[in-house]
């Protein structure tokens, strides 16, 4: 599955949950994040990972410390002076074959 397609699927999935998509492929300096969405009042930064199979390892293994750092940086940049005004969460969505799994609160700062 191509990454564009995977992200589209992930957005559809999030919308089906009632999330509001705020931005996609948001990047700033060193930081980048696939999807920014709103779950009620919570701002959610979502990383999307897709694999056709587990041959190259489970997608969960791919969100390593470096990747998390990039997402964190993007989040800080996106929030700017609004940091602390609203709850924030970091999610990871895996697409493995045709299946979607959603890891809410997958990590936090300092992991």
């Amino acid at each position: 599955m191509e990454w564009r397609e995977a992200e589209k699927k992930a957005c559809e999935y999030l919308r089906s949950l009632g999330y509001l998509i705020v931005a996609r492929n948001w990047r700033w300096r060193g930081g980048e994040v696939d999807i920014i969405a709103k779950d009620g009042t919570t701002l959610v930064f979502v990383e999307v990972k897709a694999r056709s199979g587990t041959g190259f390892g489970h997608p969960a293994e791919v969100v390593d410390a470096r990747k998390r750092e990039k997402i964190l940086m993007a989040a800080k940049a996106f929030l700017g002076p609004n940091t602390g005004r609203m709850p924030v969460r970091f999610d990871v969505i895996f697409l493995l074959g045709g299946e979607i799994s959603h890891l809410k609160g997958a990590f936090m700062e300092g992991d």
Partner: protein, 506 residues
């Protein structure tokens, strides 16, 4: 939101209550712990998160800041885990703050949310009572230890889920009633009935027990020095409750309390190997110092086998605790005082080969080797030893005979009576060995004949002032064993036999 939860951390043989303050705010999710946590406390972060998740409890997606007060005290151990988890739940609004008041939480969390026992439960429980805290939540294994403290409701908690249910009022838990066990801890001693012959050494052991005197046994290998030493705790009077609590507190802090034992009621017997380090002997280590062998032997016996093989520096450090009955250890910024009131029993050979003066085998040592061997024990160290006794090879008849000596029980009764006399004399549970010069003068009443004998001994042996006081102390203990109020010549004569006699010196 903000929550405040109490816990405790061991400090020396005491404990300090720690206030776990937790604040959550929206923002980038994260958990940071401040307030001088050590590595184990910092790692609590991972345990708490997993434990909450696996207990089906929410871990808030919020910025969590935990502060441990007082901020200048180093927090050690995983015992703060439970308090941290409860504080996070409280700050997230899952547990009402008023349920957290007046309660101390102590326990380590495993990843699945189970509560594990930690060291230092008794000191924390005592500190809690001192501070007027009424409730304590601990693991099931730790609960009997906390229940030694009267006036504290101890709630045994299996896991985090149960703690949550209890604190939200969803589940009732009955507090463990206050209980002091009659017995506890492994037996530390052997029965004197096992010892064949060695009447002289048995007698010295009895005097050592009665007056709290330090003892050195000198004899060739295999004559029963170690066996005799192991009999000593068994002829000492049983620990009083107060002493038992002191001993238990030490072992609790050191993490050496055997599983299933809440109160140690046997006198400790410690026999460290001669390769022991300075810190192992007196206490120390990284961070907050932990108790050493002399503290683990508190109210019991410290047995040093092969005495001259010990590092000289290690032996010299014993001088101060032998005098003061406690030791103060100062490390970068922390100073801790440990109790160390023990009876020292040393065993050694008369010479490096071991057979000097033996009836069967010749000694192969050269005079200067023997001198060097004995020189490892310094004068000031030997000054603190009241009793010296030879433990010679047994004769064939003694070896073949049955162990026919008195059992420990009989000896213990005499020791108990002698100690009772001393308690009345000093108005406190002190022993003759702890007398200072003034007290020696006041309490040692000699008959005229005894005074004459002592005067002759001073001239004959050239006794120093210190040796003189030592002989008087031992004489008083011998008199106490006979329930005599006045020291008679035979008491002095016996005490003179136990004065130090170094080999290889003219």
């Amino acid at each position: 939101m903000f929550a405040k939860v109490l816990s405790g951390t061991p400090f020396g043989v005491e404990a300090v209550l720690v206030e776990v303050q937790c604040d959550v705010s929206p923002g980038i999710p994260g958990l940071s712990i401040v307030g001088l946590p050590d590595k184990e406390v910092t790692e609590a972060r991972e345990r708490i998160r997993s434990a909450l998740k696996n207990s089906g409890l929410p871990f808030p997606d919020l910025r969590i800041t935990v502060n441990l007060a007082p901020a200048d005290l180093r927090k050690e151990g995983a015992g703060l885990d439970l308090a941290l988890a409860v504080a996070v739940l409280g700050a997230a609004g899952e547990i009402p703050q008023e349920r957290l008041l007046g309660c101390v939480f102590l326990g380590e969390l495993s990843l699945n949310g189970e509560l594990r026992p930690v060291r230092g439960v008794l000191p924390v429980a005592l500190a809690a009572r001192e501070a007027g805290i009424e409730r304590m939540l601990v693991s099931i294994d730790s609960a009997p230890e906390a229940a030694l403290v009267k006036g504290l409701s101890v709630y045994p908690i299996p896991d985090l889920r149960t703690a949550y249910a209890f604190l939200t009022g969803a589940q009732e838990i009955r507090p463990l009633p206050h209980r002091i066990p009659e017995a506890g801890g492994p037996r530390t001693w052997l029965d004197l009935a096992l010892v064949k012959g060695q009447l002289h050494a048995r007698r010295a052991l009895e005097i050592a027990a009665a007056g709290g005197h330090n003892l050195i046994m000198v004899g060739p290998p295999g004559t029963g020095k170690s066996l005799l030493a192991r009999c000593l705790p068994g002829i000492l009077p049983p620990l009083s409750l107060e002493e038992a609590l002191e001993v238990t507190r030490i072992y609790s802090v050191a993490g050496l309390l055997p599983q299933g034992v809440s109160l140690l009621r046997e006198r400790p017997f410690r026999a460290p190997h001669h390769t022991i380090s300075y810190a192992g002997m007196v206490g120390g280590g990284a961070g907050i110092p932990t108790p050493g062998e002399i503290t683990l032997a508190h109210h019991g016996v410290l047995f040093l086998d092969e005495l001259p093989e010990f590092d000289r520096k290690v032996l010299e450090t014993l001088r101060q605790p032998l005098e003061d009955r406690r030791i103060t250890i100062t490390r970068a910024g922390v100073s801790v005082t440990f109790p160390a009131s023990f009876t020292l029993v040393g065993a050694m050979n008369p010479c490096p080969c071991g057979y000097l003066g033996d009836s069967q085998r010749p000694c192969r040592c050269r005079p200067h080797e023997i001198q060097r061997y004995w020189r490892k024990l310094s004068g000031p160290f030997l000054d603190r030893i009241d009793l010296f006794v030879r433990v010679p090879r047994l004769s064939r008849e003694e070896l073949l005979g049955e162990g026919d000596g008195e059992p420990s029980e009989v000896v213990r009764e005499r020791v108990r009576a002698a100690r009772e006399r001393q308690r009345e004399r000093f108005g406190a549970p002190l022993t003759n060995s702890e007398m200072n010069l003034k007290e020696v003068k006041r309490h040692c009443v000699l008959s005229r004949e005894a005074r004459n004998l002592l005067a002759r001994a001073i001239d004959h042996y050239g006794l120093s002032a210190r040796a003189y006081a030592r002989i008087l102390k031992v004489s008083l203990t011998i008199a106490d064993l006979e329930e005599a109020d006045i020291i008679r010549p035979e008491h002095i004569a016996e005490a003179l036999q136990y004065r130090p006699q170094k080999e290889g010196e003219t």
